[in-house]
């Protein structure tokens, strides 16, 4: 036993330092990471918040919902932005690593189906949209449009928007191999502006120019739940709020357990009247009573 006393002492001393260090750590800057759909909105919210609260520091990065969720599981960020719900695998990983996420909804997004302005089509059903993105419809004529080849634009697979579309529009089936996988909403819009046969999907907040109007060169399609239902626009707040617009989704943030005071103050700002005014100004929809109730509960 005597022979092992030195290494045991060294091991225990090092372990003790590791353990004593544990409670001392404090993070100064709030690191936010995740959804590309949310990155512009949350950056603006963070800037406004820092302006009103000198001494606070927030850093907001994109990378996709999957990247943000992985970062909160690995404890390399404080708040994850995600435009889809967590997958079971992510919930399991979090549980194993002692991360018990709390979720907040900061805005609602009417995911918008956009085409080139020269396309005379006005609306699509969910079934038609799914068939188009699975590559089963290759010409606009098949869904009442012009005799023109369909050109698909979408997001890369680590995007929450990619997953949301796959689950809610494509019926969990694979995208067409012909889809161009773009890195962000802005790239999808740029592609569509130059392609008369194009269709793409972007967060509603990316549709508008500086004057708050839908960008020139784009047309926003109305979407119907099925062929018997009326079609609604993602620009119609009432239709998004009451669930008549079928491709709407909450935009989430997640924290590792109960948010600390600094994180809670920022989330309260985002979900409070000031933050929600910014949400609306940036083209997204404000949260309803159900989401407010969930946010309040998870902040406590």
């Amino acid at each position: 036993m005597k022979r092992f006393s030195a290494p045991i002492a060294l091991g225990l001393a090092a372990m003790a330092i590791v353990l004593m260090a544990a409670p001392a750590q404090k993070s100064k800057m709030i690191q936010i990471k995740g959804s590309d759909t949310m990155v512009n909105l949350v950056q603006i919210l963070a800037e406004e918040y820092m302006g009103k609260n000198p001494g606070t520091a927030l850093a907001v990065l994109g990378g996709g919902s999957g990247t943000g969720i992985t970062a909160i599981i690995n404890q390399t960020c404080d708040i994850a932005n995600h435009s889809r719900e967590w997958r079971q695998k992510e919930i399991d990983q979090a549980w194993e690593k002692g991360v018990q996420p709390r979720f907040f909804v900061i805005a609602v997004d009417g995911l918008s189906m956009i085409v080139h302005e020269s396309n005379p089509l006005e609306k699509l059903t969910m079934t038609e949209l799914g068939a188009i993105y699975r590559g089963e419809v290759k010409n606009w004529k098949a869904v009442g449009g012009p005799d023109k080849k369909v050109s698909l634009y979408g997001r890369q697979s680590n995007s929450g928007t990619y997953v949301f579309m796959q689950e809610h529009v494509l019926g969990n089936k694979n995208y067409s191999t012909d889809m161009k996988e773009m890195n962000g909403n802005a790239q999808i819009i740029e592609g569509i502006l130059q392609d008369e046969g194009a269709i793409g999907y972007v967060g509603v907040g990316y549709l508008f120019d500086k004057d708050g109007k839908v960008r020139k060169g784009l047309k926003v399609l109305n979407v119907a739940k099925d062929s018997k239902s009326p079609a609604f626009s993602p620009l119609d707040k009432a239709a998004v709020d009451n669930g008549n617009y079928p491709v709407a989704r909450p935009l989430y943030q997640a924290t590792n357990g109960k948010p600390n005071a600094a994180q809670a103050a920022f989330i309260a700002f985002e979900t409070g009247p000031e933050g929600q005014r910014i949400v609306e100004r940036e083209g997204f929809f404000t949260i309803g009573a159900k989401h407010k109730e969930m946010n309040d509960k998870n902040l406590r």
């Binding site: 290494p7 091991g11 590791v18 353990l19 544990a22 194993e96 690593k97 018990q100 694979n174 191999t177």
Partner: protein, 359 residues
Amino acid sequence: MAKNTAVGIILIFSLVILCNGIVSAQATTPPPQTFGTTIYFDYTSYLSKNGPVTSTAKNNFFAFRRAYFTYENKINDNLKFRFRYDADNTANLTSVDIKTGSTKKDDKLRPFMKHLYLEYSNLLPNSAIRVGMTETIQFKLAEDKWGYRSVAKTLMDGYKDVTGVEVNAPSADLGASLTGSLAKYIRYGFMISSGNGYSHPENDQYKKLAAQIQLIPLAGFSLVGYLDTEKQDKDNSATTYKLDGYFEMVKNLILGAEYFVYKNDKYLTPDQMRYDVSGFSLFGRYVFSPDVFALFARFDKNEPNNTVQNDEISLAIAGLDWAPFHKSMKLQPNIWYVTYANSAKKDDVIFNLTFFLSF
């Protein structure tokens, strides 16, 4: 015969699944492909002079230990392909000078195949099947939790390096594995493989069978049981029993423990008695600033032969992990303190400045 048939059925079943994946892959989105490289090398200085390791004239040196090159191709949302080359300079080859005919030792860094497998996800809910040269399940979890493969292999992985005793624990092997979860409280893993690891072709007709179960009753608290067995010949078998525990309930702190016993019927004392090989490891790390600064420490005790007195070897490691510029480049200074129960052997004390590069 029945066992051979069973192995064949498993492999055919796996291939059919993967072929289905390949067929469906042809009709899906073009794949995201990734390339990655991880390298670690050390500057080592012996702080003691009389131990079994440190009693050499060469008491400080640079050593290049690992260079991984990994290519991954996500063929579709379910199917992934991985190819990983590893490189080290332990091949111990002799080369011949074509001009003079003289021979010399040639120990350049040489690449070798580490991983080459297809992975099919979600055939069963929340599961993954891998076929090919794939990671073993024996200590993958321990390695993830320890987090410093660049500094030291985990207990079983590094057992032969420390004690000289083989416990048949390769990090990769040719075969098929199934891993997954049943709700968030239970993970499972099964593997059938050649048992010879990635560095040797299969040399017998016997297969290694491994099973693991991980229970996570509380968020951040895991208990893991592992068992593997392989026949060594007609009459003898080798079996590994392993128990792990992991505690991650305090933010940024990970504590882990591993214990294993290896029984090989062919391991016999001079008086023909069977003996067990065993060891335990305790480790911890605390992250002060994610991707920037952390401290780590570990204590292992190795028992190479339970019938022999005073043959235990203990290893204590302590160090820090610092990424001064970017998380892709880390400095990991660490001290190894090796003590031998045999009082004739002096302690080895070794300082390493480990350079970790990942891009």
